[in-house]
Symmetry: C2
Subunit: 211 residues, 2 copies
């Protein structure tokens, strides 16, 4: 399978899910899986699964199924998670702390190399083994460490300024938890948004519809 840069975002967004399912099969020692079995376990159609894999050149043989460890390794390679990208986290509040403590960075292709905040209350303290550094020192930190991704756990009113500053310092990608669209000002930035409020409102809508 090959990386291609014209694969649609909806296919790309399914890759981590394939990877999770296949990793679990791998851990259980399963060696072969058909697109039909994958489809039953994952809730996609078998044809969808074959189409998705075909985007990367496909693998497996018709009627024979996929080799689990090989498929898993291929998707891991496509995702690029075997190579660690340096990242920093900005904002060591409740959410920032949860992310530092909760996310298996290395398994997801990242190395967390710095946690920053601007509040004297938290600077110098430790969260899950990471010392909280002063946001004022971030420019010199970037000069020596060159992170490429920033996790933004900052309040809505701070995110525009901070994303501008980080972009100017060379950050290429943002994992953004605030409700601000970074790509409007920086269309070439790679941004993944986790909009928890929107997700909860969508849930509310769907619940209201049932009532």
């Amino acid at each position: 399978m090959q990386k291609k840069d014209n694969v649609s975002m909806s296919v790309i967004r399914r890759l981590p899910r394939y990877y999770r399912f296949l990793s679990e099969l791998c851990r259980r020692g399963e060696t072969r899986v058909s697109s039909k079995e994958l489809s039953e376990k994952m809730g996609f159609t078998a044809s969808q699964i074959r189409q998705d894999f075909n985007c990367f050149g496909g693998f497996g043989q018709q009627g024979y199924g996929y080799n689990v460890p090989q498929l898993c390794a291929e998707i891991e390679r496509i995702l690029g998670i075997q190579q660690l990208h340096k990242c920093v986290l900005i904002g060591a509040g409740n959410l920032g702390k949860a992310i530092v403590g909760h996310m298996p960075f290395v398994q997801l292709g990242f190395e967390l190399i710095g946690v920053f905040d601007n509040s004297k209350r938290v600077i110098g303290g430790k969260i899950s083994g990471h010392e909280v550094l002063s946001y004022e020192s971030i420019a010199s930190f970037f000069e020596s460490h060159h992170p490429v991704m920033a996790i933004l756990c900052v309040p809505r009113e701070a995110v525009e300024t901070i994303s501008d500053e980080l972009y100017a310092l060379g950050i290429k990608a943002f994992w953004n938890f605030s409700h601000y669209d970074i790509t409007l000002k920086h269309p070439d930035a790679i941004v993944e948004n986790v909009h928890m409020n929107d997700s909860m409102m969508t849930l509310c809508y769907r619940l209201s519809l049932e009532e």
Copy 2:
């Protein structure tokens, strides 16, 4: 505008975003906005915006723009967030704590009425004013309080059992942070997944593609 139950999920998922943008315009005292202005602020095309609003019967007059407070109130009504749905949170670890402390439940249509865990280390303690209750007491709690939504911040290995139990107790909707597909066993459950690992892997993929 009317609620319709045949509106596509992609339109529904944009509603919270419209709501956020319009609420901000409202707070700034703006009274009128065109689909062109909305499109510049939000990064959707004006035609997309008009189409989305038309799914609910449309509003506004051609060439005259939308009345901001009215549009905002309409979308609020469609989202159903003015009526509070009772919810519980299961799993008072790092992530659970962050959600209890971070999410503006009432603004999003929910009332958090109970936080549960099965660890003696946290039961009886408080997080952001909520006492952590024993998961063992959940059936009797449900009998008297009737929550309709559960936030799942439990480990992967616990989520199948817990979601089965909560579903049997009458939970209709899940806000799910674990990597387990609840709808495979309970196709009528309303589920919103926040797959943070997948989001981070997608970011990794897109970064790798650039390198």
